[in-house]
Assembly symmetry: none
Homo-oligomer: 99 residues x 4
Amino acid sequence: MAESSVKKFQGFQKNDDVANDAGGVSGKRLRSFIERIERLEEEKAAMAEDIKDVYAEAKSTGFDTKTIRKIVRLRKLDLEKRREAEALLETYKAAIGME
Amino acid sequence: MAESSVKKFQGFQKNDDVANDAGGVSGKRLRSFIERIERLEEEKAAMAEDIKDVYAEAKSTGFDTKTIRKIVRLRKLDLEKRREAEALLETYKAAIGME
Amino acid sequence: MAESSVKKFQGFQKNDDVANDAGGVSGKRLRSFIERIERLEEEKAAMAEDIKDVYAEAKSTGFDTKTIRKIVRLRKLDLEKRREAEALLETYKAAIGME
Amino acid sequence: MAESSVKKFQGFQKNDDVANDAGGVSGKRLRSFIERIERLEEEKAAMAEDIKDVYAEAKSTGFDTKTIRKIVRLRKLDLEKRREAEALLETYKAAIGME
DNA sequence: ATTGCGGTTTTTGCCC
DNA sequence: GGGCAAAAACCGCAAT
């Protein structure tokens, strides 16, 4: 369809400028999406930073961060296993019409 | 059941022992560190989830996510470059006694 | 050291040609490493191919590959958990001087 | 068809147990598929391990692994390109009745 | 039959 | 060099 050929051109705006679609709104919307994403990525980076800080603090009080990482990882594996098992169970249930 | 998962993860213990630092507190502190880390990792994962959602929403309104990703990445690089430049400037200022 | 100035030039050979380090041997050795790697990567790709074939065969005999993948993944998580737990135990032992 | 309703029940086995389809064989077959897959994945992982070892060896003899990786990747792309070209040639031949 | 799409795995690049 | 996040590849599905 005609729109598809248009689609690939969306997403292009002059940097640091207001929306500039000739009379359109897609530029504004794109800008909004980008800003939301950037905001969330900042928050994510802040979390990563915080995690690093906690490890540093633990280390400064005499803990071995390598060990802590192992523990955290192991617990995460536990969690994943449990989730996988549940997912598999759901699959089974669905297969026998119990869903 | 929560308790059993507690027992096995108290950091430095002689194997399979419930006692935690006979009269000490390092077990508690380790536990606290681990919980803080896990909490932060959950939040980080939630942010990642939110970002995915925004991309999905953008896509559903007709944008090409690949392009958006490129833009976000470029802007991030711009930002980093600017920060680098500012840091360099600060270094210069310090070098000439302007700090 | 003298070698460091040379080092950055290692790794560059005319393709499909014999080693041509003027009077040297590093070209031959590099070539040998590359060939070993490529051979191993071929074998790895062949394994991946075989795995695909098994899934295809399972599917063609009426099994649901998604379920099989889930099971395989779950079993793999089990294995990893066990390995992680053992590694953690080793860390503990080392920490209390039992290694 | 009747068979399709049956199909979804395949893939059910108690973990770590022998086939237990009442009088059936699908459990055995499933188990066999899973074991074949796991065996192949182990071999694949072993190949990956070997590749890592070769890189380590190359590094220990003074090569820059990053460079080697680049070379390997380039050569792989070359190979793919050549195969593509050959495939295209075959297509041409077929088109003009030369196959 | 082809092609796009969602979700998963694999690879790549990065930072520590 | 090893772990972690981003990017790419890939598989199966679906719609046409």
